[in-house]
Each structure stands twice: as structure tokens, then as C-alpha cells.
Amino acid sequence: MDFKLKRKSIKTPISGSLKETYPHDLQFYKVPPTCDINLQEFETLALERVTLLRTLATATTLKGLRLNSEEYTEYVLGELRTQGLKYYARLCEKSGCAETAADFEARRKDHIAHFILRLAYCRTEELRRWFVAREMELFKMRFAVMRGEAVDVFFKLNNLCYTNITDNEKNEIIHYLRECLPYQNIDNMKFYKVKFYEVLDLVKTRKVYLSGGYAYIPHRDFISVLSALYRTHLRQSLAIASQHLGEIEQDERLVSLLKGLHQSYSGNDYSETKSVVPIESLDSLSLKSFPLCMRQLHEQLRMAHHLKHGGRLQYGLFLKGIGVTLEDSLRFWRDEFTKIMELDKFEKQYAYNVRYNYGKEGSKRNYSPFTCLKIINTPVGPGDCHGCPYRHCDTSNLKNKLLGYGYDPQAVHEVVDLAKKGHYQIACSKYFDTVHNEDVGLGINHPNQYFEESQKIIKGGIKVEPKKEKVTIKKEEIDDLEGMDFDEPL
């Protein structure tokens, strides 16, 4: 059986001992593996790495742990061990250049598995984003635990040579460094000068001193430079891999597996609906079956007869998801907007957007309604009403709004309290219970899921079984896929 992963970008075929091939726990995955492995190992390695990446996703999104905090590392390592992925735990724990057989074996598996997943995840932009975000987390975590000599070896192995600035240079700018950096012992740190676009994540969060196009960074911020390099490398590799999918897919045994990996992630994205909801019923539906984020957009639209772009997108896609047809949608937006503008202006400036949401304009993609994670992480600017009310409303505003709807003050207090603590989705679930006067305790991950659950209660009177375990975890995975914007600057 020949399972060579044929790739054109092979520079130097791997030869020689394992020691030469895998000198370090952390690698940039520059050269694809060229050895033979059997089908079963192929499959096991792929699934194990998916489990690893899923664990990382759970740690940040579901558990809400901060990347590379102590709890984060502890949680990830613990999970890996309980799931029987000891070799990943080994690689993530210390990240060094030890030379036991177990180390080499772990590195080999890591290497092969990474390349298998590239094939599985290069298919669509969404998959690519999810994959890159997870691999970045993995890389950062492994770099962060690297100590002393291992760091130097890593730099040397990868030909990373940067020189630090002189003391004179540093003294000239030390005042600014103190002002811009969140660290205490600036005086003892060595600083490096790199172009600003090498450390975009630091620029984005304003955690670096910039002058004349250069960023001055201490050694500990070097991870930014490396992860930027790694990200570019990974993005390009995925693009290349996707061009070669055809060759791989001639082998049916691989196709089903690789596609299967992908399948386990794509659940219901609510871009197709069966039911049809007439727009006349939106007012009444919005009272009970809309989550608060959509209800406030609906109310804003009825009141101001206008929504800004972000609001139109979030609300428009939600409406599509619950089953409002394109024709109805156009009529709905037109009726409101033309109260403050000429019909002509609406047709020219806004109708395009509505059709675009339904995949009839532009790139003609059938866009999925936004998930909670996407909405929570969406930027909200002056004049905007979209976003997640539990996150983007001041506590007092949220409270007044809910009290204004006439809900029980005790319940309102609970919702507001949850929102204040940052449990936006649990707050939403509590709101759901309050509105429906039941104690369902749903895990809300998607506004359209909220809508469907609500309709179930209202129409069927069926008691929704709070199948927390299965439902929430599966949904969570879906969300990750689409809600990656906060990891991946667009």
C-alpha cells in the first residue's frame, strides 16, 4: 500500500535518523512527511489530533479560559491525559529537545497528524480559519512552556536571527517603552527592533511601542513575531494543499475519512429552512420567540425605520434563518425604510443588501445566520444596535429595558447579574426561561436555535428535554467554526 502524501512543495526529502528529522518538540512543519503508514494509523492520528484541537477550542470558548493562563494549560494537559493522548501532553508540557525514543515517536506522530489535518481542513475558508486558529493556539502554548536552552536551540534550528538594539538606543526611548508596555522590569529587558507588520497582534491591542514603522519588543513578545510567521506559512500551505486535493481524492479510502473529519464539525448552520414565516407575524413573534438581540433590532427598526449595516446583516440573516422568504424580506425592509426615504433610494442602496444576504448578489454565497459567538465578538460602533445585548449593553440600560418589558424584577436581576459576570449565553438562556415562564435551562448557541426551541414550546407544548450534554457540546463545535473572527483578525 502506498500512502505517500504527494506534495509538490517538497524541498528536501527527509532522510537520516529520527534525531536529525525531529530535533525539537516544537516545529514549523515546513517539510511534509514522506514515510509510509498504514490506513489505520492514518485514521487514528487524524482523529487524535482533531481531539487535541477540540480540547483547545473547548478550553477557550466553552470554559472561557484565557489563552496560556495557568488554568488553561492545566485544563488542556489534564484533558489530553484523560483522553489517552499522552504523547501530545508530553509535547505540550515542556517543549524541549530531549532525545528519548518516546520523544521522537511523539514528534513523528505530531508531524504526520498535522499534515493529515491540513488535507482535511483546507477545503473551505471556514474550515481553514478554524484549523489555523487552533493550530496557532497550540503553537503559542507550546512556545510559552519552552524554557532556557530549548528556546535558543529552536531559534537556531529555524534560522531565526534577530539582533537586539544597543543600550544607547534603548535609553533614548526607555521613557516611551515604560509608557507603552504592560511590564514592570523594562530596565532589565533586552529589546529587538522589528517592522510593525511582524507583530500585528501587538499593534492591534496597542501593547507595543511604535516609532517610524518599527516596533520595539522585548524577548517575551517574540511569540508574536513567530506566530505571525507561522500563521502566514500555514495559510499559504493550506492554499497549496487545497490545489492538490484532486490528486488525494482519487483514493477513495482517504476521501471518506478526510471528508468525515469535516462532517463531524458541520452541524445545522440554519442557512436552509423548510418552514415559511409570514412577515405579518414578526411583531408578535418578536415578543416571545426572538432572542433579545433580535428583538431589540426589530424594535429599533420599527421605531427608527432604519438600521445600520451591522444590524441589517445580523437581523436580515436571522430572518432568513427563521423562514422569511426573499420576497417578504424585501417587502419588510422596504416598508420600513421608505417611511424615512424615497423608494428609489431604498432600491438603489439597500435592496442589493437584502438580496445579497439571500445569496443573489455579489459572490452569491448563501450566507449563514450569525451564531452567538459571532454576535458576541462582533465589533459594535457608535450608532449601532446590533451585537449581543448582554455584552454590548450597559448594565443599567439592559435592566431598564427588561423591566420595561414587564418581566419579574427578580428574574431581571438574575439575567443582568449573569450578563455582568460575562456569562452572556447563560443570561440569554435565563431570559428564555423568563419569557416562556418555564425552567428549561437551554444552552443557547444560536439565535435561530433560540427561535426554534421557543416555537417548539409555544406550538407543540412539547416539553423540551434539556439534553444538555449532547446538544450543547455538538452545537459548540459548530459555533467554533464560524465564530473564529476573534482569533483571526480579518
Binding site: V203, C385, C393, N397
Partner: protein, 412 residues
């Protein structure tokens, strides 16, 4: 406001404007230089015609082409897009945008919640000050922090300003890079449901923010008075909602509500209250450490349309296009001169082409100044581009001669 009558006139006047007054030559040089190393024909232009028909994916080879195209289509609005890998009019499916100036769009409508003199499309000398501040702060950050040199500032024709950065590094920056710069500049976050939109934390204030505050301070008191940020009861309430500390809020309310309505007096009284409160309440001081700075930023700092900056191929109105609603020319101005700009002195197509108009002479002069400003930026761009290319050639030669020990970037 300009009526229908005038818009009809436009179709007759535009051909003359494009031939006689539009700086075609310098415009084409700007586009050519800003598209390098790709030919100018890969650059997308888009026209909006008289009846709002929108044509995308146009392009030109040279000035002669441009003139012919203008005369044939007579666009009422002229937009510029990105540089594609091919001619934008041919293969549209696999074409990608390779480069594009880094652009910023600041529009006074985003200031509606704080400006009190005008709303929506209206603009006056008073609220123009917001644009002056925005221009100074952004220009300084682009030059000092990011090291950009070729920066073009353009009046958008009605109520905003555009900024085009043509440096090679800026033009080739990818979308995440643009997003990072936009986020670096963006301090005001949150929508209609958040009252306090600026959070500086309690660590040191970043050098770039410190510099922005220095610029704001030059205008703050004047703006405060002119706009009356905290004069009426309503505005005072909005102001009080920013306070993150209930005690400070009620103390402030008690004092200010009783005072006269003059915003400056009220502000000074507030400063007193704040200083005393801050000194006495060291335990809650972390939350309000930079409250004064945060308020100033919320009321004065530039409000960017971030999406325009992030998008790689967002179309943006060209310099010297005519704004179809006002007839005003999108003039190029010097960032240092923004504060002296008078909106009614911006030339309009009507005054420029009508000898009998009382503004004609003055507007002619202003138009020439704007063209000269444009020229200066383009000449300097051509110079730096030439230098950059010479440097690149030299580096390339040298690395052929010696064995290449490149930086990590190329290796990975």
C-alpha cells in the same frame, strides 16, 4: 440644499469640468505610481452615472484613455478601487486584489450623538473642528508611529474627510494588517446601548494616546463651549451616564444641575469635584483614574469607519470628483491646514464654471491651491518610489553576489 434643477445641469457641466479643471495628468501619475509594480490598467475605477447607474471594473491605460472614458460616460461620481492581478474588466472570477492604498474614512454622521450644532448630512464651521482634530491625530500617528510618508488628505465633498496612504508597505498590507492599524487607532467602542465608550484601564497611557490627548487639548475647551456638550439637562444626563462611579456621579449632578448652563463653567466645576473625589477615594480610584482623558476622547477623538480601512477593495471617492449632492469638489488639502479650511470656500462646479458667480474668483484660486497640494504629494510619492526601487535593485544585486543569509521570514 441643491435642487433637482442643478443636478440636471451637472450633466452639461461635467464634461467641461473634466476637460478644463480636473487635474487629469497628475491624477494619472498618482494612480500609476500607486499601482506599481502592476500597470495602471489593473486598477479598478468605478463610475456612477447620471441616473445612479453604477459601473464597476473600469480601468484606463493612460491619460488619453481616461479623458475619452470621462467624455463618453460623464460620471457624476468617480470611485477608485484596488489593483488587480489582471485588468479588472477581464477575468472577474479568479481575479484578486493585490494592492491598494491604506485608506481612512471619517464622516461627521458618526459624530451625531455628540455634536449638537448639526445632524446627519448637515455640517457647519463648528462641527468641522471634529474633522480638524481627526485629521491631525491620524496624520501624526501614521507618520510618527507607522513611518508612512506619502499621505493624501481629501475633503469628501460634504461632511467628511478621506485619507490615502500610498507608501509601498501600506499599499501591500493585507486585510488583517489593515485591521490591526485601524484597531490601533480606534479608541471609541460600543454602540447605542453603551454610555461609556472609552476604557483606558489603569496602567500607563500609551504614547500614541498621550499624543492624541495633547492635540485634543488644543481644541477641547473651545469645542466644549461651541457645542455645549453639557449645557442642557439632557446633555448633562448623557454626560453623567459616562461616570462609572455612582458617588461621583451624584455629587457631580448635584453641583452641575444648579449651575448656569455654560458648559465650560460646568466642566471646570466638574474637574474640581473629580480631583477632590479622586484624592479622597483611593480605593475606587482605579476605575476613574483616567476618567478625564476618557471623557475627552469620547467627545473629541476621531471616529473611524473601520470597515473602510479593513476592506482591501473598498471603493472610495476619488480626489477631485464632484459630490453629486453638493456640487463641491473633493479638494486635496494639507493636514496642517485643515483648521484654516472654510467649507463655503471649497470650490463648487457651479461657481468654477460660472464667471458671473460672486465666488468665482476666490474658488478658482482655491481650486489651484488644491491641485498644487495634490501635485506636491504625488511628486514626493514618485520620488520615494524611485528611491525604493533603486534600493531594492541594489539589495537584489548584492544578495546575488554573496550567498543569501536571509531573515527568518524567507526561510519558513
Amino acid at each position: 440644499m441643491v435642487g433637482q434643477h442643478d443636478e440636471n445641469l451637472l450633466s452639461d457641466m461635467l464634461p467641461i469640468y473634466y476637460t478644463r479643471l480636473f487635474p487629469q495628468n497628475i491624477f494619472c501619475r498618482w494612480l500609476t505610481c500607486g499601482s506599481y509594480p502592476h500597470p495602471v490598467s489593473n486598477r479598478e475605477l468605478s463610475f456612477t452615472l447620471a441616473d445612479d447607474v453604477y459601473i464597476r471594473y473600469l480601468s484606463i491605460n493612460n491619460q488619453k484613455d481616461f479623458q475619452t472614458l470621462l467624455q463618453k460616460k460623464i460620471p457624476h461620481k468617480l470611485d477608485i478601487g484596488g489593483v488587480y492581478n489582471t485588468k479588472p474588466s477581464i477575468a472577474r472570477h479568479d481575479s484578486v486584489v493585490l494592492a491598494r492604498e491604506l485608506v481612512f474614512d471619517i464622516d461627521l454622521t458618526d459624530y451625531d450623538e455628540i455634536r449638537t450644532c448639526c445632524q446627519e448630512a448637515k455640517v457647519c464651521e463648528k462641527c468641522w473642528k471634529f474633522m480638524v482634530i481627526a485629521c491631525e491625530i491620524i496624520d501624526k500617528a501614521l507618520r510618527d508611529d507607522f513611518g508612512f510618508q506619502n499621505i493624501l488628505w481629501v475633503f469628501s465633498g460634504r461632511r467628511g474627510i478621506h485619507c490615502w496612504v500610498s507608501d509601498y508597505e501600506a499599499r501591500t498590507l493585507d486585510s488583517p494588517g489593515r485591521g490591526a492599524i485601524a484597531d490601533y487607532m480606534c479608541l471609541i467602542m460600543g454602540g447605542d446601548n453603551q454610555n461609556k465608550k472609552v476604557n483606558l484601564g489603569s496602567d500607563n497611557i500609551h504614547t500614541s494616546i498621550r499624543r492624541a490627548l495633547n492635540i485634543i487639548d488644543q481644541y477641547f475647551e473651545q469645542l466644549l463651549e461651541e457645542q455645549g456638550f453639557i449645557s442642557t439637562a439632557d446633555r448633562l444626563q448623557t454626560f453623567l451616564k459616562i461616570m462609572p462611579d455612582e458617588n461621583l456621579k451624584s455629587q457631580t449632578e448635584k453641583v452641575l444641575a444648579k449651575m448656569s448652563e455654560a458648559s465650560l463653567d460646568r466642566w471646570k466645576a466638574f474637574l474640581n469635584i473629580y480631583n477632590n473625589y479622586y484624592r479622597e477615594n483611593s480605593n475606587s480610584s482605579r476605575k476613574i483614574k483616567y476618567l478625564i482623558e476618557e471623557i475627552k476622547i469620547q467627545y473629541c477623538y476621531p471616529r473611524l469607519d473601520v470597515n473602510v480601512t479593513k476592506g482591501f477593495n473598498h471603493l472610495l471617492k476619488s480626489p477631485f470628483s464632484i459630490h453629486p449632492k453638493t456640487g463641491k469638489v473633493c479638494v486635496v488639502f494639507k493636514p496642517g491646514n485643515a483648521k484654516n479650511m472654510k467649507l463655503d470656500e471649497v470650490p463648487t462646479i457651479y461657481s468654477l464654471l460660472d464667471d458671473s458667480s460672486p465666488d468665482n474668483a476666490q474658488h478658482q484660486v482655491n481650486m489651484r491651491v488644491a491641485v498644487k497640494n495634490f501635485q506636491e504629494v504625488v511628486f514626493s510619492l514618485e520620488k520615494t518610489e524611485a528611491m525604493r526601487r533603486r534600493n531594492d535593485a541594489r539589495v537584489a544585486n548584492r544578495s546575488i553576489a554573496t550567498s543569501p543569509v536571509d531573515r527568518g521570514k524567507a526561510k519558513i
